[in-house]
C-alpha cells in the first residue's frame, strides 16, 4: 500500500482535486478498451503541467514507487492497466495547445490534447494532423505517441512516427529532457523515433511537436460492394500491385456492415459479403483517371457495384460510419475483443480464410473491419463476459489468429501495441536476443523499470497468469 505520506506529497503538488483515491472513483481507471483484464490503481494523479509531472515523478523516484501513464484510456491492448504500479498518472488535465506555427506547419501540444483537437485547431487554415485513429475524438496525442497509432488514412500518409518531430519527456527520475525538436535532422541518435511506440515504458511524454499536413485539394471516395470477402481482398492486392496508393483502403465484412447499418442507417447493402471503402486524394487533375482504374480493378474482381460519394456530406457520412464501427459492435454481443495482426497485403485472402476457420472451430462469431491497404486486420471476437468457457475460447482463438499472421510472414500488432494482451506472442516474432536488446534500451531511460512495468516484455512468472482474465480484479 502507498503510505499516507506519499499521497499527501502528491496532493501538495497537484492540489486536492488532482488526486483520486476513493474506491468508487477509481473504478473508472480499472481498464482501457481491452476489457478482458482489470486492475485498479491505488491512486490516480492528474497533473496540469510538465513541472507537476516532473515533481510527481521525483517523489515516486525517491520512494521507488512504480507508475503507469494514462491518456484517454482508449488503448486496446491493456497498455495502461496498472500492474505492480500503485500510481496512475493521467494527462487528462494537460490539454493546452502550446504553439502553432502555420508557416512551417508545426504544432506543439500537451500530451493530453485529443488527436482531433489538433486538426480542429488548424483546419480553418487548410491544415490537419494526418494520423487519424478511429478513436480520434477521444484518444490523446500522448497515447498516440506511446502506441505509434495509425488510422484509415495512414496507408498513404504514414503513422504517428512519421509526423512527430520533437518530444518533451519526463524520465522516471523526474528529469525533463527534450528529444528532437521543431527542425529536421537534429544531430544524434533518433531518440524521438525510439520513444514513439515505446508504450509508456520510457517515462511520461508531456509535450509533442507535430508536423501538420496540408489538406489535399480533392478527394474521391468509393464504396465497392462484393459478394465475398475473398473478392474484396483480391481487389486490395490488385490495387496495390497496380502501383496505386490510395489515401485509405478499408474493408468491412457482412457481420460488421449489418451492425453499422442497424446503428447508423447509412445505406450499406446488408446482404453483401464485404465492402471496401477506397479513398483517393491529391491534386484534382488525374484523380478521375485513377478512380477509373480502381473501378476496373473492382470489376475484374467481380464487384457487384461501385458507388462514388457524390458530395462532401456523403463522404463524411461514410467515414463516420466506418469510424464508429466499433461502437456498433455493442449491438452484436455484450463484449468483444479486437485483434490487430498484420500480414503482407497479398496474404489477406489467406488470413481471412484462417480467421473463418478459427471462428468455426471455437464456435465464435467474428466480425472484420480493418485497414486492408496495410494488411492490418482487426478481427472482432464477440463474446459474453459472463460465460467463462466462451472467454477461454476467445483467448485461444485470438492467439491462433496471431500465430497465423506470424506464419504468413506478418506481425502480432500493427497499431494497438503489445500492452499486456500480446506479451506471450512476442517470442513468436522475436528471439531472446532481440528482446534483451530492447530491454537494455529501456534501462537507459528507466534503469529501475518503474515506468509502466509488466508491459511488452515477457517475464517468467507473469507469463502464465496474463492469459487469465480478471485475475487482478481482487487486487
Amino acid at each position: 500500500m502507498l503510505s499516507a505520506g506519499v499521497i499527501e506529497q502528491l496532493r501538495d503538488i497537484v492540489g486536492a482535486d488532482g488526486v483520486i483515491a476513493r474506491d468508487s472513483e477509481l473504478r473508472v481507471y480499472e481498464c482501457d478498451g481491452y476489457t478482458l483484464e482489470r486492475s485498479t490503481p491505488q491512486v490516480v494523479v492528474l497533473p496540469k503541467s510538465t513541472a507537476e509531472v516532473a515533481a510527481i515523478l521525483t517523489v515516486l523516484h525517491s520512494e521507488r514507487i512504480a507508475f503507469v501513464p494514462r491518456g484517454a484510456g482508449t488503448g486496446l491492448s491493456g497498455g495502461c492497466l496498472p500492474i505492480d504500479a500503485p500510481v496512475m498518472v493521467c494527462t487528462s488535465r494537460m490539454k493546452r495547445i502550446v504553439a502553432i506555427d502555420f508557416a512551417n506547419r508545426r504544432a506543439t501540444v500537451e500530451a493530453g490534447v485529443a488527436n482531433l483537437a489538433v486538426t480542429n485547431e488548424v483546419k480553418s487554415r487548410g491544415l490537419y494532423y494526418a494520423p487519424d485513429p478511429s478513436s480520434q475524438q477521444a484518444c490523446t496525442i500522448g497515447g498516440n505517441v506511446a502506441e505509434n497509432s495509425g488510422g484509415p488514412h495512414t496507408l498513404k500518409y504514414g503513422v504517428t512516427t512519421n509526423h512527430v518531430l520533437g518530444l518533451e519527456l519526463v524520465l522516471p527520475s523526474g528529469e525533463i529532457v527534450q528529444l528532437g525538436g521543431a527542425v529536421e535532422d537534429v544531430p544524434g541518435y533518433d531518440l524521438v523515433g525510439l520513444t514513439v511506440g515505446s508504450e509508456g515504458t520510457f517515462g511520461i511524454v508531456t509535450q509533442a511537436t507535430l508536423r501538420l499536413s496540408r489538406q489535399p485539394e480533392s478527394w474521391k471516395t468509393l464504396l465497392a460492394v462484393f459478394e465475398s470477402v475473398n473478392d474484396a481482398t483480391q481487389t486490395v492486392s490488385g490495387i496495390i500491385a497496380a502501383g496505386i496508393v490510395p489515401a485509405a483502403l478499408e474493408m468491412m465484412d457482412r457481420l460488421i456492415v449489418e451492425a453499422i447499418e442497424a446503428a447508423y442507417h447509412f445505406g450499406f447493402p446488408t446482404d453483401a459479403g464485404a465492402v471496401l471503402i477506397i479513398e483517393l486524394d491529391g491534386l484534382a487533375a488525374g484523380l478521375e483517371r485513377q478512380a477509373q482504374q480502381v473501378v476496373e480493378i473492382c470489376r475484374a474482381n467481380h464487384s457487384r457495384e461501385v458507388k462514388v460519394a457524390k458530395d462532401e456530406a456523403e463522404r463524411a457520412a461514410l467515414w463516420k460510419s466506418r469510424k464508429r464501427a466499433f461502437g456498433a459492435v455493442g449491438r452484436l454481443a455484450p463484449s468483444y475483443c479486437t485483434q490487430d495482426g498484420v500480414v503482407p497485403r497479398t496474404k489477406l485472402p489467406d488470413i481471412l480464410r484462417a480467421i473463418t476457420r478459427i471462428g468455426v472451430h471455437y464456435r465464435l462469431r467474428i466480425a472484420n473491419v480493418f485497414h486492408a491497404g496495410d494488411g492490418n486486420i482487426h478481427p472482432i471476437l464477440l463474446y459474453d463476459e459472463r460465460n467463462a468457457d466462451e472467454v477461454e475460447r476467445v483467448l485461444a482463438a485470438g492467439r491462433e489468429i496471431l500465430e497465423a499472421c506470424v506464419a504468413l510472414g506478418g506481425s502480432v500488432t500493427g497499431e494497438h501495441g503489445i500492452g499486456v494482451e500480446k506479451i506471450q506472442q512476442m517470442p513468436l516474432i522475436f528471439s531472446p536476443t532481440d528482446l534483451l536488446v530492447m530491454q537494455q534500451l529501456r534501462k537507459v531511460f528507466d534503469p529501475t523499470l518503474r515506468s509502466n512495468p509488466g508491459k511488452i516484455f515477457p517475464t517468467p512468472g507473469v507469463c502464465v497468469e496474463t492469459t487469465r482474465p480478471m485475475r487482478r480484479a481482487a487486487m
Binding site: 527542425v183 525510439l194 511506440g197 502501383g243 491534386l283 488525374g286 494488411g375 522475436f430 536488446v437 534500451l441
Partner: protein, 433 residues
C-alpha cells in the same frame, strides 16, 4: 593508430580464424583522417560478422564498419581504428515482394544495384544520395543519406521497416519485420538510421518501396537574388502543388551547374494530367522566369543536385537545419558573410525541409572564422550545423556535430548499453560517442 607489430599480430590472429582470403592488409582505401587500420576483413556471412565482433571486442580492438568507403570521412576521426569491417561481400537481394511493395536486402548491396533490380517491377527505393552506384544499403542507413527527394518521399527512417544488426558482443538482433505496419517492440530501425556505425553493424534491412512515377518533369525558375529565391520557394511550397523536390540554388551553386543566375529547381512526378495542371499553376505564379527543362537538361540538373554534397573541390562542407522560414531568413546572409572573408560559398537548400548544404572554398583560417559566425547565427535561429567534411588542418578545432543537450546523456547511455567496451567506431559521433 596500430604499430606494425600490433598490426602483424592482429592480421595473423584474424587470418588464423577467418581464413587468409577474408583478411587483407591493403588498407589504403579505408584511411580516415590520415589514419589507416591494420587490416580489412570481408566476411561472407552474417554469422562471421558476429564472430569477428566478438573476437575483436574480447581483445579491445576497434572496428569500423565500411560499405564502399564513400562517406567514411563524415564524422569525427576515430579514437582508435584497428579493423575495417567491409560488408561488400554481403550483397544479396534476399526478397523483393513486388506485389507487397517490400524488399529485403543485405547491407552490402549498393543502392544503384537495388534500384536497377526494383525498376523491373517499375518500383524504387526513393532515396537519392550522391554516388548511388557505390553507396551500400548499410552506409545509406548508418549515415542517414538522402537528397532532394526527401521532400516528397521522406528519409531512411520513413521507409525502413525491418533491420538486423550485429552488436559488439557478436550477438545478432533484429527489430521490425517485413510488413508495412508494425508496432511490436521498440523501433530499433530508427535508432540505427544515422548511427554512423557506432551502435552495431547493420547486416540486413527491409524497406517499403514505392511505384515509380509514370512521368517526371523538371522546371527551372530564375530568381532575382537569394532572398527572392528563398521567398518564392516558400510560396510555391504553399501552392496547390505536390512537387517531388524544390531546391534553391544560390548564384555560385547555379553557376557550377551551368545556369546563368541563382534560382529554383522544381521537379514534378505523376501522370500527365497532374504534371500539366501543376505546370500551369507554376507558370501563373512565376510568369516567364519559369521554364520547363528539356529531357537532357532535366537529367543533368537532377544528377547535379543529387551529387552536389560530394563535390570534391570544397574546403569544407556543412549541413544546416532550421525551420523553413528561418532558413529562408538566413540564406541571403550566407553569401555576403563568406565573401566578406574572401571565401566562396555554394549553397543548395531543400527548401521545404529547412535543410541547406553549404560548400565553402578558400583559406582555412578564414573558414574557421566563418564557421564560428555560422554556428552562432544558426543556433540563434533554433537550428543545427553539422560539418560533413573538414580539412585535416581544422580537425580538433571544429567539432563536426557541435551538439550538447540533456539528450546527449541518453545517447551515451545507449552507446554504453549496446557497446560497453567501445569497439565500434569509437569517438566518431556526437559528443565523442
Amino acid at each position: 593508430m596500430p604499430t606494425s607489430d600490433h598490426a602483424r599480430e592482429l592480421i595473423a590472429a584474424l587470418r588464423a580464424r577467418f581464413g587468409a582470403d577474408a583478411v587483407s592488409d591493403d588498407t589504403a582505401a579505408f584511411t580516415i583522417a590520415g589514419g589507416a587500420p591494420a587490416c580489412v576483413v570481408r566476411p561472407l556471412q552474417i554469422e562471421q560478422v558476429g564472430e569477428l565482433l566478438a573476437f575483436a571486442t574480447k581483445r579491445d580492438w576497434a572496428v569500423i564498419p565500411v560499405g564502399n568507403a564513400t562517406h567514411l570521412r563524415v564524422g569525427a576521426p576515430p579514437a582508435q581504428y584497428d579493423i575495417a569491417l567491409s560488408l561488400q561481400r554481403l550483397a544479396r537481394i534476399v526478397a523483393h515482394e513486388a506485389a507487397d511493395m517490400t524488399v529485403t536486402v543485405e547491407a552490402g548491396v549498393t543502392l544503384g544495384a537495388l534500384n536497377t533490380a526494383l525498376a523491373q517491377a517499375r518500383q524504387w527505393l526513393p532515396l537519392d544520395p550522391p554516388l548511388a552506384e557505390q553507396v551500400t544499403i548499410g552506409g545509406l542507413i548508418a549515415a542517414d543519406l538522402n537528397g532532394p527527394l526527401r521532400l516528397s518521399q521522406g528519409k531512411v527512417r520513413d521507409l525502413l521497416i525491418g533491420i538486423t544488426v550485429v552488436l559488439a558482443d557478436g550477438s545478432i538482433a533484429k527489430a521490425g519485420g517485413r510488413v508495412v505496419k508494425n508496432v511490436a517492440g521498440y523501433d530499433l530501425g530508427k535508432l540505427f538510421a544515422g548511427s554512423f556505425g557506432t551502435l552495431g553493424v547493420i547486416v540486413e534491412a527491409t524497406f517499403k518501396i514505392r511505384p515509380c512515377p509514370e512521368q517526371t518533369r523538371v522546371l527551372w525558375i530564375t530568381t532575382y537574388d537569394d532572398q527572392d529565391a528563398a521567398e518564392l520557394a516558400l510560396t510555391l511550397l504553399d501552392a496547390k502543388l505536390a512537387p517531388l523536390f524544390v531546391e534553391v540554388l544560390n548564384t555560385t551553386a547555379a553557376a557550377a551547374c551551368g545556369q546563368t543566375s541563382g534560382g529554383i529547381a522544381l521537379a514534378l512526378g505523376g501522370i500527365a494530367e497532374e504534371l500539366d495542371a501543376q505546370q500551369t499553376v507554376i507558370v501563373d505564379y512565376c510568369g516567364r522566369s519559369a521554364r520547363v527543362c528539356d529531357d537532357r537538361e532535366a537529367a543533368q540538373l537532377t544528377h547535379w543536385l543529387r551529387e552536389f554534397p560530394r563535390q570534391a573541390a570544397a574546403t569544407l562542407t556543412a549541413r544546416i537545419s532550421l525551420l523553413p522560414t528561418e532558413l529562408a531568413g538566413l540564406l541571403p546572409r550566407l553569401t555576403p558573410e563568406a565573401v566578406a572573408r574572401g571565401l566562396e560559398a555554394a549553397v543548395v537548400t531543400h527548401a521545404g525541409n529547412g535543410v541547406a548544404r553549404l560548400h565553402l572554398r578558400g583559406d582555412e583560417g578564414q573558414a574557421l572564422l566563418f564557421i564560428e559566425w555560422l554556428r552562432i547565427a544558426v543556433r540563434a535561429r533554433g537550428g543545427w550545423v553539422v560539418f560533413d567534411s573538414l580539412p585535416v588542418g581544422l580537425h580538433g578545432q571544429v567539432e563536426p556535430f557541435g551538439y550538447r543537450t540533456a539528450a546527449l546523456t541518453l545517447m551515451e547511455g545507449i552507446k554504453r548499453q549496446l557497446d560497453p567496451r567501445g569497439t565500434l567506431s569509437p569517438g566518431r559521433f556526437v559528443g565523442g560517442i
